[in-house]
Amino acid sequence: MQFDQILQYTLSGLSTGAIYALIGIGFSIIYNATGIINFAQGEFVMLGGLLTLSCLELLALPLWAAVPCAIAVSTVVGILFERLAIRPLKQPTPINLVIITIGGSILIRGLAMLVWGKDTHAIPAFSGDVPISVGGATILPQHLWILAITLVTICINKIYFYHTISGKAMRACSYNRRAAGLVGIDVRRMVLFSFIISSAMGAVAGIIVAPLTMTAYDVGVMLGLKGFCAAIIGGMSSGLSTVIGGLLLGVLESLGAGLISSGYKDAIAFIILLLILFIRPQGLFGKADSERV
């Protein structure tokens, strides 16, 4: 097997992996603030891509304006989702909440199908399609955008959680919700915050990946599951372990698809997911009680 080829698969795997990492962190943030696995997370990824498309085509906005616009609208959907589906729940047991997020995801997907139809849509790349050659492999400018934006998003997250009081308050909720209430933290507001951050991050992921993979009303299902897989590998941490989990998943998937058969691409992710759940349910890097945010 040639080195070039492996390098090629690894590079493209890293950029898909970065997407999985962003989605995975979205899962972790909500999980840590609320104890819910938000299975609607993938729908925000879909919304990000399709809303960008609408901003570009219907509103004729330039890309630099369409992207924030799409993120903002997706975030509003995230807020509405928390307000209308999560908060009013009388008995917020985990199983009820999980089923609600699945229902919410089906609803959002259905509405998206009505709005955008069943076609697959393309979004132009951020800065052209001229391939760049990297030591025998080629990558697209969009790959670099993905890696850079992921890096920036993760850094902003880190700063928020570790260097602002509001971020610390959110971490406090994840460690001990009762004590958080006692020192005056409004836990419900933190839950809303977690939905805001997660839906925005999901939208970012959906926007930056859309020029490469195209987008459609149902892309959220698979991307959401891959992101979930990344979060599980990372032990539901919203820090570095989930990022590594996402990158690892992306690279393994890409290598597997290239070296074995592209038919197994999705199967690889789920085999990894099952193996982790069977063997190391606390995540690849987790101690029994891993760092969570």
Partner: protein, 251 residues
Amino acid sequence: MLEVSGITQIFGGVTALDSVSFAISAGDITGVIGPNGAGKTTLFNIITGIYRQTAGTVHLEGKNVTGLPPEKLARLAMVRTFQNIELFGGMTVLENVMVGMHTKSSAGLLACAFKMPWSISEERRIREGAMKWLEFTGIVDLADHVAGSLPFGKGRLLEIARALAVEPRIILMDEPAAGLNSQETVGLAQLIKQIRDTGITVVLVEHDMELVMDICDRIIVLNLGTKLAEGTPREIQESSAVIAAYLGDDD
């Protein structure tokens, strides 16, 4: 300062508290004592909004706060500590206290999220304030340790520091001396007096009689869900009803 009247709590068919009323005046250290099962912790949980009582009202500084959730009470300057200390285990000691100060943060939560640079300088101010509380409770040298790794006695001091960081006017402590050795208990007594001297009203549930008699200005005795007696430590020690409740009746 704090006034509870007619507090009744019925769990299933069991009456845990039966029409308990008392008033706590500002600047006092008040001890709530009583045999096991007297309803002390239940009473605390009701006052601090963790349980919703069957009947009765709680007034804080003349304001009806019955049934308010803990985070609202914290904003009204009432905080509590737990018998089994409740910390943010994965955060550092300093961060625990900083979170306690977040209600005093002038940058609102949204402002924090969107105005990063400014709220980072805000964070520096809060960090300094938090260090002050760590000094007050004597654990400043542990500031960078992870809270979950602290020995129990230090964890208790941290919980108190975090509660004080909320800048309460009244603090309720549920068995602060539980699990402490005798040396730590002496330090705790000193600390509680210092807290009172800064003008904060202290209410504590406690089993350690020596501690209670030493530091409390007033004592309330509960027995089987009702208030048995109330008075100064001397009055309580001489009360035949209290002695009977603790040691059993001669009859």
